[in-house]
């Protein structure tokens, strides 16, 4: 295992960055592990939430942003609800995702593909069109048969034609402005 060097000017930079992104003060975390204990996703994570918080406290930026855990978090708010230190842990995880997104670090390719299919659908129609998302996702991810086993009854519930709203241009503009700003 590598030795982590804790000396240096950058020790606190990551915590500051997270504070700026989310408004959350991670120095309040005393590492009780409550978030890890309550998280329904811990079993799927590469690092439990409390260790992600620890990485922020000790400036382990690379490790945290390249973790799979930040993508597998579903923002179910269990951690934020029960944190004895009143840290909005789910918001911290979201902040990490935001940074990872900006820096194009995607350790969970399928989730990224799904999110992008979602946002594409949103951009095109102003609303979400479930069948299109699945179709796009299947094509992009290469998992062509995802949910094909759900059967005809489910498929029947999905609209085959997307609903387009008048304001879809508004929505597209929102996304366009956002992209230009970045």
């Amino acid at each position: 295992m590598e030795t982590i060097h804790l000396t240096g000017d950058t020790l606190n930079n990551f915590a500051t960055e997270i504070r700026q992104t989310t408004g959350e003060d991670t120095s309040r975390c005393y590492q009780c592990g409550n978030c890890t204990a309550g998280c329904p996703y811990t079993e799927f994570f590469d690092y439990p939430v409390s260790q992600i918080m620890r990485m922020i406290q000790t400036g382990q930026r690379e490790k945290a942003l390249n973790s799979r855990a930040i993508w597998l978090c579903a923002t179910c708010e269990t951690c934020s609800t029960r944190c004895p230190c009143e840290i909005d842990v789910a918001d911290v995880m979201d902040g990490l995702r935001n940074i990872a997104y900006r820096e194009k670090r995607f350790t969970e390719r399928d989730i990224r593909t799904f999110y992008e299919a979602f946002l594409t659908s949103l951009k095109h129609h102003g609303r979400i069109f479930e069948l299109e998302i699945i179709a796009r996702y299947n094509l992009k991810s290469g998992h062509l048969l995802t949910d094909a086993d759900l059967g005809p009854k489910v498929m029947k519930q999905l609209h085959f034609l997307p609903k387009r709203i008048k304001g879809r241009d508004d929505v597209a503009r929102i996304i366009k402005r956002f992209m230009e700003k970045k």
Binding site: P40, Y41, E43, F44, W71, L72, A74, T75, C76, E77, T78, S80, T81, D88, A90, D94, G95, R97, N98, Y101, R102, E108, D110, I111, T113, F114, Y115, E116, F118, L119, L122, G126, R127, I128, F129, E130, I133, I134, Y137, T146, D147, D149, L150, G151, V154, Q157, L158, H159, K163, I165, K166, G167, R168, D170, V171, R173, I174, R177, F178, K181
Partner: protein
Amino acid sequence: MIEKEYAYYAGCSLEGTASSYDRSIRVILKALGATLRETEDWSCCGSTPAHAMDHVLAGALAARNLAIVERMETATLTTPCPSCLSAFKKAHAKVTQDKAFSDEVNQLLDLPYKGGVKAKSTLQVIYEDVGPDAVTSKVTTVLPDLKAACYYGCILSRPPKLAAFDDPENPVSMDRLLAACGVDVRDFVFKTECCGAAFGVPKKEMVLRLTHKVLTMVQDCGANCVVVACPLCQQNLDLRQAQVNRAMGSSFSIPILYFSQVLGLAFGFQPEELGLDKHIVSADALIRSRRPKGAEDAAPPVKEKARKSTAQGTAGKPGDAPGAEGTASAAKEA
């Protein structure tokens, strides 16, 4: 009874896989005397993918809708979908508390959001504005075979400061509304445990395992159906139940109903008026025994009637199915 007007935001899911939620909500709110005004030309709230990407973008996508509602001059926005609700509440909180955030969001919008909209889940509207007593007064039909586990999902009452509704660990609003309809509500301990949320498509194996846990606990508490208030929960539990069984070697056959559908049945509406025919795991067997309120247990003709009308319903002729009046007249005959 309330005479109240709400701006209504159905949300994308309720136009697709969760259309039955939309239908049943509209039916019961009308019965309870609430007026829903459509949020004109609403767009997607942004949901999980948007806030994963960027908080400002997510805020803008949600705030576009809030700005529309603001112009409708209806104080309260209601949406049945907890995910949309959460997006609205987060956007509203940040816009009203953080000036810099508000500026950034409004720079992306054509129509700025000033922060004047209060968002409530439709469950909260029915629980708080209508109340269990008013619900009881509308009940015409009892559902003797239903043993319900109320499953609230993860974000309806959490985090408590944002949700500002019900108890974050042991929410009771749905339990009480169902109890007000005379339904046998079980003590279910996984009320707020996460089902896997939006990961159904990209991380199916994860969702199947979480869903399996939830369904196991449902079975443990002696319930024979799950009552939900979230389209995503319904989707993961109902749509994917067969996948769960295949992947985990289980053999669940547990109908997943929206609370609005149960209320609708209790108010005397027919299953297909409430979209119950859309569900994958059929609830027919559980609701077959429903009968008019006040009728004796051993009143066979009513039971016969009820059974018949259900049979008609499932036969796929919604037009022929007797409506609320049908049940009511059955009650008179009895």
